[in-house]
């Protein structure tokens, strides 16, 4: 047997700089109205301002635990959600604020959740990593890396079972692609033709470990692993909301018309650390790299420049959107600050459906065990 020497894996390749003006002409983008553009841009700015404000609150000691910021990745959540209809569902990991705001959850409830307040979207029971709003078909907010990927298959399974022409968008980071549950999910999705779109938001680092140091994959990139499951896959450049919309809409169409899953890899970048507790994020990557992404590949700035060039927005409009988003974020912090903490008796609520619905209770016995 010939001994083979492992070759260095190809580093994550930065895609060519996006050309928004030509990508705007693709079929899924060409008919967007000025109002739609304005809404997408506004949502991206709102996510950024919300997170910047939450970062400040964290630094002020108002927020406990972890805070995984989405800043730099906003085009993905907004682009994907812009394609959803009332039969489509979404689930993500712990970097979940952007998706929550994109589906229409309010800044107030989201900020209050970070503060652990009763007015939070999960009544202060979930925290940053665990936002939910099933009324908006948003199923979390999941804290364990890769743990949401079978749930995403399950949402798709339910849609298919009920013969609803919808799909599940299941987001994960590049750090989740080496989890067993993810591979089991890909196999089930392909085996059973589940209408699920797995979207890897590849920001290059699984916490402090670069993709190069964590993932063996084909030269074509991590999405090409889908070949092993005979599944559709594609690369998308996340710095362009138009590229996101184009690539994801094709996968959603495949899911909804043919009940076929896809694995998409969206190249993106986070400017902040893995979480705010990640003090080393300028050590495992260079300042120059962060600066380059901020300056040349920022999805919000690139979209703004396109909108101004295309005369869909002017400088004044941009400024107004930004100021309104800042004001909204500030107001949400005020709202969170003034909201009450949940009462102590809330600790034992929302544990069991049956305990919360005593009129429909059929079980007997003791369910909670503190003396």
């Amino acid at each position: 047997m010939t001994k083979t020497t492992a070759q260095p894996k190809r580093a994550r390749q930065k895609p060519e700089k996006a050309d928004l003006s030509s990508e705007a002409k693709s079929p899924v983008n060409a008919d967007l109205t000025k109002d739609q553009h304005t809404k997408f841009y506004t949502d991206m700015v709102r996510i950024r301002r919300f997170e910047e404000r939450s970062l400040r609150a964290y630094q002020q000691g108002k927020i406990a635990g972890f805070l995984h910021l989405y800043i730099g990745q906003e085009s993905i959540a907004v682009g994907c959600v812009s394609l959803m209809d009332e039969n489509d569902h979404i689930i993500t990991a712990y970097r979940d604020h952007g998706h929550a705001l994109a589906v229409g959850m309010g800044m107030d409830e989201c900020m209050a959740e970070l503060y652990g307040k009763a007015t939070g979207c999960s009544k202060g029971k979930g925290g940053s990593m665990h936002y939910f709003d099933p009324s908006k078909r948003y199923w979390g907010g999941h804290g364990i890396v890769g743990g949401q990927t079978p749930l995403g298959a399950g949402l798709a399974y339910a849609l298919k079972y009920k013969e609803i022409e919808g799909c599940a968008l299941c987001f994960l980071g590049d750090g989740a692609i080496n989890q067993g549950a993810f591979h089991e999910s890909l196999n089930l999705a392909a085996l059973w033709d589940l209408p699920v779109v797995y979207i890897v938001e590849n920001n290059g680092y699984s916490m402090g470990t670069s993709q190069e140091r964590s993932s063996a994959h084909p030269d074509a990139g991590i999405a090409a692993r889908a070949e092993g499951y005979k599944m559709n896959w594609a690369h998308i450049n996340g710095e362009s909301i138009f590229d996101v919309r184009e690539g994801v809409s094709a996968a959603m169409k495949l899911a909804k018309s043919d009940s076929k899953p896809s694995l998409l890899e969206i190249h993106t970048y986070r400017y902040q650390g893995h979480s705010i507790a990640d003090a080393n994020h300028k050590k495992y990557r260079t300042k120059e790299e962060i600066e380059d992404y901020r300056k040349n590949h920022d999805p919000v700035s690139l979209y703004r420049d396109y909108l101004i060039d295309a005369k869909l927005l002017d400088e004044e409009g941009v400024k107004e959107i930004d100021q309104a988003a800042k004001a909204e974020a500030e107001a949400s912090a005020q709202f969170a600050e003034e909201s009450p903490f949940p009462p102590e008796e809330d600790i034992l609520k929302d544990v069991y459906w049956e305990e919360d619905n005593p009129d429909q209770k059929t079980s007997g016995g003791r369910i909670f065990f503190n003396d």
Partner: protein, 324 residues
């Protein structure tokens, strides 16, 4: 009343619920074409078709997690684990996701899933296949866990489990699958969280769940015929929720208790029961509470020694005689 096996009783429960609710699906390894590794689902594919009865690949984390996701959207999956010992490869889904999603969403979501399968030792399959994780499950708020020990309870508890809006984990026993008992044809349920006194007695309470209930009944007969001791056998049936009232009433009557289980002793179910008794019936106890659990090592393979590792009637009798 017809006499059927524990296995048939479980299947009858699933048939009833599959017919009653179109959102009930059976998913697991070998449940459909192979007719079930332990034949619990035999014939269901033929009767209900491949949409309702689904063979899963060997991917417990994947298919159980998928079931949890589907249940959030209103499907009622009944997931078979070929052995509960295989739960550990899906532990994140079983413990983290199923138990926590409701809580973390502030009560907006519920997870009406059933996970079922055998959880017992004593069959010569060694340490990896002989786990009894009901104590681990019961330690997790958000989950319910039941351990039927008779065909009647198997059917009634399975039906309750499938109708429940919270995750209910059903621990069966390969040793009991062929046991026969009287089971009505009609649509009855055994409510979760109600213990059952399987034998009345006045001198001693033997408190057990799962296969240990049968051990206790055997021990009770010997205690009666050879020692003149009338033991009451309390079958917990459900671990969480726990029917403390039945336990306490029995101990108040008999003033003595032996807690029997195939679980390991440390943090086993008996630890909790023991605490319950001392805190609610301290003044009624005439002797220290005794426990008979599995000997505290991984499940041994060697068949004669495996029989020694699990608490059998002779151990229960010995423990009983120490306090009677």
């Amino acid at each position: 009343m017809p006499e059927i096996t524990y296995r048939q009783a479980l299947k009858d429960a699933m048939i009833d619920e599959l017919e009653r609710d179109e959102n009930v699906v059976i998913i697991g390894e070998e449940v459909a074409q192979y007719n079930g590794a332990y034949k619990v689902t035999e014939g269901l594919l033929k009767r209900f078709g491949p949409k309702r009865i689904v063979d899963a690949p060997i991917s417990e984390a994947g298919f159980i997690g998928m079931g949890i996701g589907a249940s959030m959207l209103g499907i009622r999956p009944v997931m078979e684990l070929m052995f509960w010992s295989f739960a550990y490869v899906a532990w994140d889904q079983i413990i983290n996701n199923a138990a926590s999603v409701r809580y973390m969403s502030g009560g907006l979501i519920n997870v009406p899933i059933v996970i079922r399968g055998p959880a017992n030792g004593g069959t010569g399959v060694g340490a990896t296949h002989s786990h009894t994780p009901e104590n681990f499950i019961a330690n997790t708020p958000g989950l319910k866990v039941v351990c039927p020990a008779s065909p009647y309870d198997a059917k009634g508890l399975m039906k309750s489990a499938i109708r429940d809006n919270d995750p209910v984990y059903v621990m069966e026993s390969t040793i009991m699958y062929n046991d026969k008992g009287e089971v009505p044809d009609d649509d009855y349920v055994v409510p979760i969280g109600q213990a059952d006194v399987k034998r009345e007695g006045s001198d001693l309470s033997l408190i057990a769940h799962g296969p240990s209930v049968l051990v206790c009944l055997e021990a009770a007969n010997v205690l009666s015929s050879e020692h003149g001791i009338e033991a009451e056998v309390v079958d917990l049936r459900s671990i969480r929720p726990l029917d403390e009232e039945t336990i306490i009433n029995s101990v108040k009557k008999t003033n003595r208790a032996v807690l029997v289980e195939e679980n390991k002793p440390f943090c086993g179910v008996g630890s909790q029961i023991s605490h319950t008794i001392q805190s609610q019936a301290f003044d009624y106890l005439d002797a220290p509470i005794q426990r008979a659990s599995a000997l505290d090592a991984p499940a041994i393979y060697s068949p004669p020694l495996e029989k020694k590792q699990l608490p059998k009637a002779d151990v229960v009798i010995k423990k009983a005689l120490e306090i009677c």
